[in-house]
């Protein structure tokens, strides 16, 4: 099966094709021992699953659950910017199926408002600098967000190194 998106008919197990093609290597059976488990992944997936099942009216004003595609896109965003030891963000629902990913650390704040897939408003602010919040309209490239996270975490870790 085309694992990328499942759109190919070749080798699909969901309906008989014109001849069943089998790949010789079962890719699903591989075990990657070099990948470190992510600190954030389990919590994020649990939270997104929960938000997709919120009851209508969860906010007291008739809001519906987070949009399923938006939640999946949010996970892809985090997969693109978070290393295995990035702290898990807070994730909050919006009033229209949207959601916001937030980090609030001693050194500053990041908020990613995911309005829909490919439609993200990013905001970043550091504490103790003269620089006010930095904003960015983002679609699929989140390299800048990764830099923001790195800045926040580097500043967080610096005092520990100094003490050692």
């Amino acid at each position: 099966m085309n694992r990328l998106s499942g759109i190919s008919l070749t080798g699909t197990t969901s309906a008989p094709a014109q001849g069943v093609v089998q790949a010789l290597r079962n890719r699903d059976a591989r075990v990657l021992i070099t990948d470190r488990p992510s600190v954030w992944r389990a919590d994020v997936v649990d939270r997104l699953n929960y938000l997709c099942c919120l009851p209508v009216g969860w906010n007291g004003y008739g809001a519906g659950p987070v949009n399923f595609n938006t939640a999946n896109f949010a996970l892809r965003v985090l997969e693109s910017v978070c290393s295995s030891d990035t702290p898990a963000p807070s994730i909050v629902p919006g009033p229209s199926g949207d959601l916001q990913i937030e980090w609030h650390l001693e050194t500053g704040d990041i908020e990613l408002h995911i309005r829909a897939p490919n439609d993200v408003h990013g905001w970043f602010e550091t504490v103790g600098t003269e620089q006010s919040g930095q904003e960015a309209q983002l679609t699929i490239d989140f390299t800048e967000v990764a830099h923001w996270i790195k800045k926040l975490l580097e500043s967080t870790r610096a005092p520990i190194k100094a003490a050692a």
Binding site: I7, A15, L48, C52, E79
Partner: protein
């Protein structure tokens, strides 16, 4: 950046004018699909399947119970229908950690997927409430020829327009397309020998002193806009595979997936045309000159 692709269907424009006063759909101008003059061309490519399609926001007011009405849009040419599990959402994103693998899709309510199949079985429309895809494939004795990209994409344009009109009849709206994808699935076979030799066909794999029993490889390449920013990815996957008869062959799948410049059907078709160019160029680059002779490369 290849020339833009524009499409015009006078029949659709006429129907829009007469029946859809409230419609926000705009007619699309068409010229023949512009093929870059230096794009490699093959008389007998080893294509086994081509898929193209779009992923869009779930339309307002549409419920799964109306899937039968969607089928009626296409049932003249696609009279058979099957119901299947849905395709999960897929998105290309970029950042320093973006990896080929994405684990653990989010659970949630999903619309089933429907296959509307042509009478010959070689073409299929795949529909769910956030996807529309058109597949062509080899069938039967494998003698059905690939009808070429411009034929398939013109059909897809008509199918997408019909779907957009249908959704607009529920409540005025246009398809908001978030992602496009195009896949070319090649089955490279050498009927003259029992076991295919990888390095005869793939330039990227050379084994000077031995022939592997089997292999699997994948790589990705960013597709960029004219200003250098990423707009999508080309993904290549290849491995050895075996037919029901026991004969080995090489599967080579090239997929272009990414974001159209606008959320419209016209912009989606521009991305698909760009994806075609990237796929064909990459296919020519990763396969050997001797393979090109077998496949009758003409350009």
């Amino acid at each position: 950046m290849p020339a833009s692709v524009r499409f015009f269907d006078p029949d659709i424009e006429a129907s829009i004018g007469s029946g859809h006063k409230e419609s926000t759909i705009e007619p699309v101008q068409r010229a023949p699909v512009i093929r870059p003059p230096d794009l490699p061309e093959f008389g007998k490519p080893p294509l086994n399947e081509v898929v193209l399609g779009v992923q869009f926001d779930a339309p307002a007011g549409y419920q799964q119970i109306r899937a039968g009405e969607v089928w009626k849009l296409y049932s003249g040419d696609f009279p058979q229908v099957q119901e299947l599990p849905p395709l999960p959402p897929s998105f290309e994103t970029f950042g320093p950690q973006a990896s080929l693998f994405s684990f653990g899709p989010i659970n949630g309510p999903m619309h089933n997927r429907f296959w509307f199949t042509s009478t010959t079985g070689d073409e299929i429309i795949q529909f769910q409430n956030d996807r529309l895809l058109h597949n062509w494939r080899k069938v039967g004795d494998q003698s059905n020829e690939y009808p070429r990209f411009d034929t398939i994409v013109t059909k897809f344009l008509s199918e997408a327009r019909s779907l957009e009109e249908f959704f607009s009849s529920i409540t005025p709206q246009t398809l908001r397309i978030r992602q496009c994808e195009l896949s070319y699935v090649n089955h490279i076979k050498d009927c003259s020998i029992e076991k295919i030799k990888v390095s005869d066909w793939l330039k990227v794999l050379l084994f000077p002193s031995f022939e592997p029993d089997d292999f699997a490889l994948s790589f990705r390449k960013t597709i960029r806009s004219s200003d250098g920013g990423p707009i999508g990815r080309l993904t290549c996957e290849s491995s050895t595979a075996v037919e029901p008869s026991g004969r080995h062959f090489i599967s080579l799948t090239l997929t272009a997936r990414g974001v159209p410049e606008q959320q419209s059907i016209a912009s989606a078709l521009e991305f698909l045309a760009r994806g075609r160019d990237v796929i064909v160029n990459t296919f020519a680059e990763v396969t050997t000159d001797s393979a090109h002779r077998v496949w009758e490369r003409t350009a």
